[in-house]
């Protein structure tokens, strides 16, 4: 902009080095890994059967000052009363078991939906960047149209009308999130296809489609992959929200949104625990995925 060289102000490169941010990134990594592990083994390591009621209905969680003693008892495997760490809900189900079993639904749906939309979106984005102009325009206008729909409401309608199964939820979320990846990949493809290695491959006589898939696409995936983590967070919020309004996974599947909805009626009677813990689980998980994604972005920019 200006011809005069001015020293940059302190903090101009603020995004690059900041130990605090790195801590957030590590926390994010930890949460992401934990959620993936629980997605696989959660239902197996739950202390109680997630579908069979215990004998205690709306048993509150143990008081905070008792927790260390109870933890010690359970570590040393001493004989003790059964402990319901997060209490039990109005059907007598153990909330802790259900909270750690729920990633099998929430995280799996979010991950599945994003894998589908990442694949679809990056291929369409590539096509929009390298194919004939009218194909690109068609893809971009379709993306605009999909994004004009209100996300949550459209999700609600599609899932309910198509049948509330895990498969339809995954496909619905995938459809709604694909435009994000199309946009990110396309804009990166537009800069990458100008680079020297593309000309080099062309000079070697490679076919255009082959160049696009093997040279341009792998180099243009970074923004989409960074977005992947953040969008998984959105998708978890969305999955839980859909089942909260009764337009998502069916009960009695252990799922965070359903658990919050089941506890909603007890809130007014002062029984807060059936809703509190699943909501905390959602917040921490989404926070973790966001922190992980932001950390990746910073590293990529540096």
């Amino acid at each position: 902009m200006s011809e005069v060289v001015v020293p940059r102000l302190a903090g101009a490169d603020r995004a690059v080095s900041r130990p605090r941010a790195d801590w957030l990134f590590r926390f994010g990594c930890l949460i992401v890994m934990l959620s993936l592990v629980l997605m696989v083994i959660g239902p197996w390591i739950a202390p109680y059967d997630v579908g069979r009621p215990t004998d205690f209905i709306l048993e509150p969680p143990p008081a905070l000052r008792d927790v260390p003693r109870l933890l010690w008892l359970s570590i040393t495997n001493a004989p003790r009363e059964p402990v319901y760490w997060f209490g039990t809900d109005s059907a007598g189900l153990d909330i802790f078991s259900r909270v750690i079993a729920a990633p099998r639904a929430d995280v799996a749906i979010a991950l599945g939906a994003n894998l589908v939309s990442l694949t679809l979106g990056s291929l369409l984005g590539l096509a929009a960047g390298v194919a004939r102009p009218w194909i690109g325009a068609l893809i971009m206008r379709t993306s605009d149209l999909v994004q004009a729909f209100p996300v949550f409401i459209t999700g609600m309608i599609l899932v309910t009308l198509a049948g509330r199964s895990i498969g339809t939820i995954i496909l619905t979320l995938a459809l709604l999130y694909t435009p994000i990846y199309v946009r990110l990949t396309r804009s990166e493809v537009l800069t990458q296809r100008q680079r020297g290695f593309v000309d080099a491959a062309r000079a070697l006589g490679r076919r255009e489609a082959w160049i696009a898939l093997t040279h341009v696409l792998p180099n243009a995936m970074a923004p989409a992959l960074i977005q992947f983590s953040v969008t998984i967070g959105f998708a978890i919020l969305m999955t839980a929200g859909l089942s909260f309004v009764g337009a998502g996974v069916r009960p009695p599947t252990p799922e965070w949104g359903l658990m919050i909805a089941a506890g909603a009626d007890q809130i007014v009677q002062g029984e807060w625990w059936p809703s509190l813990f699943p909501g905390l689980a959602i917040s921490i998980t989404v926070f973790g995925y966001a922190a992980f994604g932001n950390g990746l972005e910073r590293r990529h920019a540096a």
Binding site: R14, A148, V286, A290
Partner: protein, 311 residues
């Protein structure tokens, strides 16, 4: 002027395209509303008769055109299930939803913009860290859960607010505002996060611009510089705020469910569960229209704030 006209026309085009897609979509579903009205044990003839009476046996394109023709004349049609006039349903429920969204939007702006400006001015001080924590937490907490926890805290625990329900203005300003407080906070927090983050990065960028340095060197007062900074930094904030306003309508419905507020959510949810095609299409179109109008207004504001974009 022509640019604005073009924008209005393209928004209308989007609206028409959305209505066509929606209409096709809800009609592609195998379950007929006749099943819902007549019950599970209705015979095939009864269902066929119901569909004939309500014009559901016509081709989808004919149904669309007859509905669209009605909309041009201000007639949105009637519910297939209980025969209520859809325009009446919407005119009764939209103001409630709109009020909730407006309160949340004002709340979000009033908190987010100063927070963003302060954290950009005091980079890496406690206010900046606080803003970052608010911004990251705000996008991670589910709106509906926050609403429930606010009920547990503010209504059940402290007893300051009603636990839900909607008190109309006619019952007095104070009870009305109290009944809107918790819903507005739970809907607004997410947008406090988004708008404050945008404000911070935008103001931070402008603070490093040459003209700000020159203004400082010339010894202008902090207040005057702040006005110049805001004028330059607010354009992206306006865009994000307008999009937020549009998105709020979607999430307002879930907040209305939590607080049992008689806005559009109940109408829409009932319509979805009962396969009431026309109500679904109309309500979603109204919400999409709100989104498009918010973006149009943002566009106008943008031109006013930054005449360079008007060209």
């Amino acid at each position: 002027m022509f640019v604005i006209l073009g924008r209005v026309l393209s928004s209308l085009g989007v609206l028409v395209a959305v209505s066509i897609v929606l209409f096709t979509l809800v009609h592609a579903i195998p379950v007929s509303p006749a099943r819902v009205v007549l019950g599970g044990d209705a015979s095939e003839e009864d269902i066929a008769e119901f569909e004939r009476d309500n014009g559901l046996d016509r081709p989808v394109i004919v149904q669309y055109l007859s509905w669209a023709g009605g909309v041009m004349k201000g007639d949105l049609g009637r519910s297939l299930i209980d025969n209520t006039v859809i325009a009446v349903t919407i005119s009764q429920t939209l103001p409630v939803t709109l009020e909730l969204v407006l309160w949340s939007f004002c709340l979000a702006l009033v908190i987010a913009v100063p927070l963003g400006v302060l954290s950009a001015y005091h980079e890496d001080r406690w206010i900046d860290h606080l803003a970052r924590v608010v911004a990251t937490l705000g996008v991670s907490i589910p709106t509906f859960w926050l609403g429930l926890m606010l009920i547990a805290w503010g209504a059940v625990g402290l007893g300051w607010f009603p636990a839900g329900g909607y008190v109309p203005w006619s019952a007095g300003a104070k009870p009305h505002l109290l009944s809107m407080t918790l819903p507005s906070v739970s809907l607004g927090l997410y947008y406090v996060a988004i708008i404050s983050r945008m404000t911070r990065s935008s103001v931070g960028d402008v603070l490093m611009a040459d003209h700000v340095r020159v203004s400082r060197a010339m010894g202008l007062s902090r207040g005057r510089i702040l006005i110049y900074v805001l004028r330059n930094a607010l354009s992206p904030v306006v865009t994000v705020a307008a999009m937020s306003f549009g998105y709020m309508f979607g999430w307002a419905l879930i907040v209305e469910q939590v607080f049992t507020i008689p806005g559009m959510s109940r109408a829409l949810l009932n319509a979805i569960f009962r396969r009431d095609y026309l109500v679904i299409v109309n309500v979603v179109l109204v919400i999409t229209a709100m989104f498009l109008v918010a973006n149009l207004i943002a566009d106008l504001l943008y031109r006013w704030l930054d005449p360079r974009t008007a060209r």
